[in-house]
Amino acid sequence: MAVIKDLKTKEITINMGPQHPATHGVLRLMLELDGETVVKCTPYIGYLHRGTEKLGENKTYATALPLTDRLDYVSSMSNNIGFCVAVEKLLSIKVPERAQYIRTIMAELTRIANHIVWIATHALDIGAMTVFLYSMRDREWILDLYEMTCGARLTVSYPRIGGVRCDVTREFMESCYQFTEEFPEKILQYETLIDKNRIWLQRTVGIGIISPEDAINWGLTGPTLRGSGVPYDVRKFAPYDAYDKVDFEVPIGKNCDVYDRYRCRMDEFRQSVKIIRQCLEKMPEGLVLAPEAPGYDMPAVPPKKPAAPPPKTAEGEAPPPPPPPPPPEETGPVFNELYVATEVPKGELGFYFISDGTGKPYRMRLRAPSFVHAGVLPKLCEGSLVADVIANIGTIDIVLGECDR
């Protein structure tokens, strides 16, 4: 036995990904291993880079919206809403109340759909396969609800600047209400399978601990931060849409580990159902698009205002009258820069616009939660076992489409 104790092995470097099924896309992790222990972990990103930010600069605000579908493709509706909320603030457009409620419903449905995919893949990575099958069954209903409303299941492009594209139908409202009735039972099913399962507990409890201070310093947001006990939620701190008119709680964790982050997301399921229910009950009648909203054929360059009156050269004796005061600024974009954050299922999605007064953004910067969360992986993984790397990737809930943009 003494021989083995004195044995000095070389650290080996292995690549996990980009084609590893448990890295949720094309994340590549360079792991330096000492036996089973991870000594160093370096994430490499960029395998799914499509230049969304640059593409956005070449499109008008109205047509740049479909790009945001393709950021985080499991919660595309939330990204759309985040984009719209940001642009509406830039153009100072007030969204009709009905549209606000519809958007809130859609955002929460998306949160459920996203967390369903998250629990499916996370549990599958750790070894619980049945959860995957059950959750995919339930996600179908949400996708049907999307299709019923806007005709697409994944890349929805349903919200538009100043409201939403079309009103929801009666059929949607009924089906959605039915969903809120039935979904809590489905959450119980997932919990029956894994909540107290000893394998699940061994794989999650005490794994990937990050203290609240560290979590804030690393810039974590969303359930990943709330699992560490920090009750930060953009929906509460800077309410947009109808979040200030509904009542909900922000679930937080205590032990800062993978299990608590799992519990946070499971509680968010219930809160989302609660929000949807309230929105369905409170939804007012009315239009769903603000009258001042720009159309899809929003001009890239604002129409020239008649700056100077045509000079009256016919008489020529009277001096030209002083130029009239410039008309009050209309709802067109002005030179401005702003950052607007919304709470997408994965965390805080921020849009930072610099506008130069035309119909296109001068600069569009996305603050993607997945990108920030991928950066915290070394902190979570170093010192743990290889198998826990999988649990850690799952718990921060990244989608590489958003991370690489």
Binding site: A62, P66, D144, A152, S157, C166, L287
Partner: protein
């Protein structure tokens, strides 16, 4: 550790509960759809294969070549060529490269004459790129294919005039767009060799679209 915990630990209660659930699920009806044999219901307004609505009066497309769709298309997959014939602008070519299309449906929404539509057809894979490069004739053909399989006699795409949106700013043709017939309407101008027995005589009157909203 309480007695309950010990019992739990010893008798694998939590695992048995999970097993019981999976066993219960085994006895419920399957939710899977055996796709080629069974098909799921497509909801109205599904954004699928592109088509040009065949105008019942002229038998041609309704596109006027306003270039709104081509200018606005986020994927820039619509190509239009116009020529001047007898002092009139005529749409010579109208191509949609469906492989580049992102199916956002904005083109349907901006179209002032409701000429373009994303139909509910979704099975159109092909072996070559050319087959999915839709020109004007193919777009009309797509409409005929879709209309012949459409269950109802009239079709209205909800993105032509979306619900809940103020119609006062829309152009007149869009405001007054009603459902379009999906069955071939007998041409009143042409003498018809045989009287269509199955067609009721009030069928041509359908073209003067009623203004009832969806």
């Amino acid at each position: 550790m309480t007695l309950k915990d010990i019992v739990n630990r010893f008798f694998l209660i939590e695992i048995l509960k999970g097993m019981a659930l999976t066993f219960k699920m085994m006895c419920t009806r399957a939710v899977t759809i055996q796709y080629p044999k069974q098909r799921r219901k497509i909801f109205p307004g599904f954004r699928g294969k592109h088509a040009f609505v065949r105008d019942a009066k002229t038998g041609k497309e309704k596109c006027i070549g306003c270039m709104k769709c081509a200018n606005m298309c986020p994927a820039q997959c619509i190509y239009i060529t116009k020529t001047k014939i007898e002092n009139k602008m005529v749409v010579e070519k109208y191509d949609i490269e469906a492989l580049r299309c992102i199916y956002c449906g904005y083109c349907v929404e901006v179209c002032p004459t409701c000429a373009l539509v994303l139909t509910e057809a979704y099975e159109y894979s092909a072996y070559t790129k050319d087959e999915i490069y839709f020109n004007k004739a193919k777009l009309l053909q797509n409409w005929d294919d879709f209309a012949s399989t459409y269950p109802a006699d009239e079709y209205f795409n909800k993105f032509w005039r979306p619900d809940g949106i103020d119609t006062s700013k829309m152009v007149k043709a869009k405001k007054e767009q009603g459902p379009v017939p999906t069955r071939p309407v007998p041409q009143p101008a042409e003498p018809q060799p045989e009287t269509p027995a199955e067609k009721p005589p009030e069928k041509p009157a359908e073209k003067t679209e009623t203004k009832e909203t969806e």
